[in-house]
Symmetry: C2
Subunit: 429 residues, 2 copies
Amino acid sequence: MTTSWLDIDPSSDFSLANIPFGVITREIAQSPHVGVAIGTYVLDLQLLWGLHPEKFQAVHEALTTEIFSSPTLNAFAELGRPAHRAVRAWLQDLLSIDTSCPELLRDNEEARKLALIPQRNVRMQLPMAIGDYTDFYAGYHHAHAVGVMFRGVQNALQPNYTHLPVGYHGRASSMVVSGTPIQRPVGQILLDPAGPTTAASRRLDIELELGCFIAKPNALGTSVNVADAEKEAIFGYVLLNDWSARDIQTWEYVPLGPFNGKNFATTISPWVVLADALEPFRTTGVENKTPLQDYLKEERRENVFDIHLEVDLTTPEGDTTTISRTSSKHLMWSFPQMIAHHTLGGCPLRTGDLLGSGTISGPGGAKGGECGSLLEITEGGKKEVLLYGMDARTFLKDGDTVTLRGSCGSAGAKVGFGECRGRVYTARR
Amino acid sequence: MTTSWLDIDPSSDFSLANIPFGVITREIAQSPHVGVAIGTYVLDLQLLWGLHPEKFQAVHEALTTEIFSSPTLNAFAELGRPAHRAVRAWLQDLLSIDTSCPELLRDNEEARKLALIPQRNVRMQLPMAIGDYTDFYAGYHHAHAVGVMFRGVQNALQPNYTHLPVGYHGRASSMVVSGTPIQRPVGQILLDPAGPTTAASRRLDIELELGCFIAKPNALGTSVNVADAEKEAIFGYVLLNDWSARDIQTWEYVPLGPFNGKNFATTISPWVVLADALEPFRTTGVENKTPLQDYLKEERRENVFDIHLEVDLTTPEGDTTTISRTSSKHLMWSFPQMIAHHTLGGCPLRTGDLLGSGTISGPGGAKGGECGSLLEITEGGKKEVLLYGMDARTFLKDGDTVTLRGSCGSAGAKVGFGECRGRVYTARR
Ligand SMILES: [Ca+2]
Ligand SMILES: [Ca+2]
Ligand SMILES: [Mg+2]
Ligand SMILES: [Mg+2]
Ligand code: NI
């Protein structure tokens, strides 16, 4: 990988190898539109288009003015993988030290000043209009650990777990972008076996997940085969924090699954890392010894990504502790498998639909500091996790901030997500 | 109630007392837009607006040209209950024999020819853009009967059932309007205890439900109290068939709830009966002896509607049998209670979001012919339901058509929904 004419810190998530897409609002009164992250900058694609429409049009014939002045990435996603690939490659060239068109930006101070904005000066928006959000449960070590907690080690996993990617329909309306305040939910909780109380959740938790956005839709009554899912269906990835109120969830979830325990907010990181950008980081997931149904069989064994993931907890006092370090490779099911399963019966996926991986924890569990939820770290709230400054938590306290981070690759060529962050605010009275 | 200058059959669901709203496409090349049903006609509101914009604007100040030329009812719903009430009242006047403005339609043959179209000449569209769909489980007799089947009579209802309206997130992308073909889903089913098979569902079922569309949205982090939910939140109602593949559902649903067993299609009736139109048909629901949490307490005991509901099964040969007759009063939770519960933790509901009541069955169960699903009618597939012509079913056969109907009120002043219909087609190979 070549270097950029821009000064990019080698530790940046947004190297030339990445080029993630997002929706920005600039300080000046302007409607939300599309940009890409590069180092500490955003390259404003609406503005760049305005300067050189003919250059963009030459990159891919389907590009139009509306694509990058849209308030979501849906129109861009809908163009399909070849278009995403062409635009990313062209932007990589444009930002390379030996760019084939130096006159556009590298050697054009005026254009640089207009189109390159420090990230601190833009406001990030939710990147996609999300029609439906589905949350899977593919994090094997999480599913196993939680199963042991609830049903004992013999029955930790339900009989279906290794046969199909278990998932459930989540709530799209409460999907929020990193930085959005998270209000502790009120709900019915069972403090006394005699009956429930309506109160603020006392067991507010996080779930570290990888999110996957759909590019290519399928029509009602059709299914997507697993090979096509891998080649065409996926637009890109984000980090996802599936905030969970464990006490609300425990009381409500039989027999139809999680509801108010999960639907008060789900935070995603603002930059969509394109599917192509993660290709070099493929690896094998958690081994599944169960013979797979044909529709779930993949050609490549390297069906997940080795993204290094971290969870930081920052106390109201401002002290930060990394409470988890793991990898997105600890999944038993790949996103193409999830897509093949989701559409098996003919359910339509639409451009902009979001799939969550399920909570990701490593095999080391609580002892190894590899858990994607406080539920696991604290063994159901029984043990405290020690924080910097001799503070401790079982579940989240008002004023706590949780930040997910994720990246792959080596210094100078990192492909990362930036932050997926949310601060907890006191419950409504 | 006065009569109309239009010739309306007294048995019509679409009397002057109703005035339900829908989205139509006319035979002539035209984009979808808003109409109301009256007798066997549709009154085209886009066209009527074009003839007399000043009349409409006088009805309610928030009305604009876009409202009725929109391809969904969302913009109209968003205006709020007072606007819906004013427009419905004005249309009732316009269509009354003693209308205050006879020159607009009653005595204007040219305008009548343009604006009143036989229903057979229009194509009905999905009436709303549905952001999120939530399916509740408020049909007490259904929940109890299914619980007995799965867990025995002692544990038929889960401990939470009488404390909160149990619900789960459904799939919005597969919501279809009455008449849309229903393809039998393929899925994983457990024919052999040794492991699942991927095959067409053998236990395709229906669920008779009432659907409720949201008018007034609430912001993230806010909740809607039950009194406001009743006064302001609801736009109107439709019939809903929550098609269910029981064999897929049984294998997949632990621990996170229904997924592919439900997400392949959900059919709704095309005409949205406004909340005001159902007001005269309020009654008390299923008694709940459990003390309620404050946020679920309602002032009025008449919190549900007595809508007479029927399920017709038409065989491929064309013979029709009514397999169920019941009432929407058999709910233990009202829609305002569902809304109060759904938003308790701050989950935002948006204009156009849809809530399903859960399957509605009467206390008479299978013997009384009051079941909202074949699962109950056939006691889990153990007994056949006899059809016209000595045909019989446990679950649905390819080529079967299921039609839900619902109405209240007496002849000449009926408030009904029309049909919610779907025909089953052979599974994809
Ligand atoms: Ca989750
Ligand atoms: Ca249902
Ligand atoms: Mg969530
Ligand atoms: Mg359904
Ligand atoms: Ni006029």
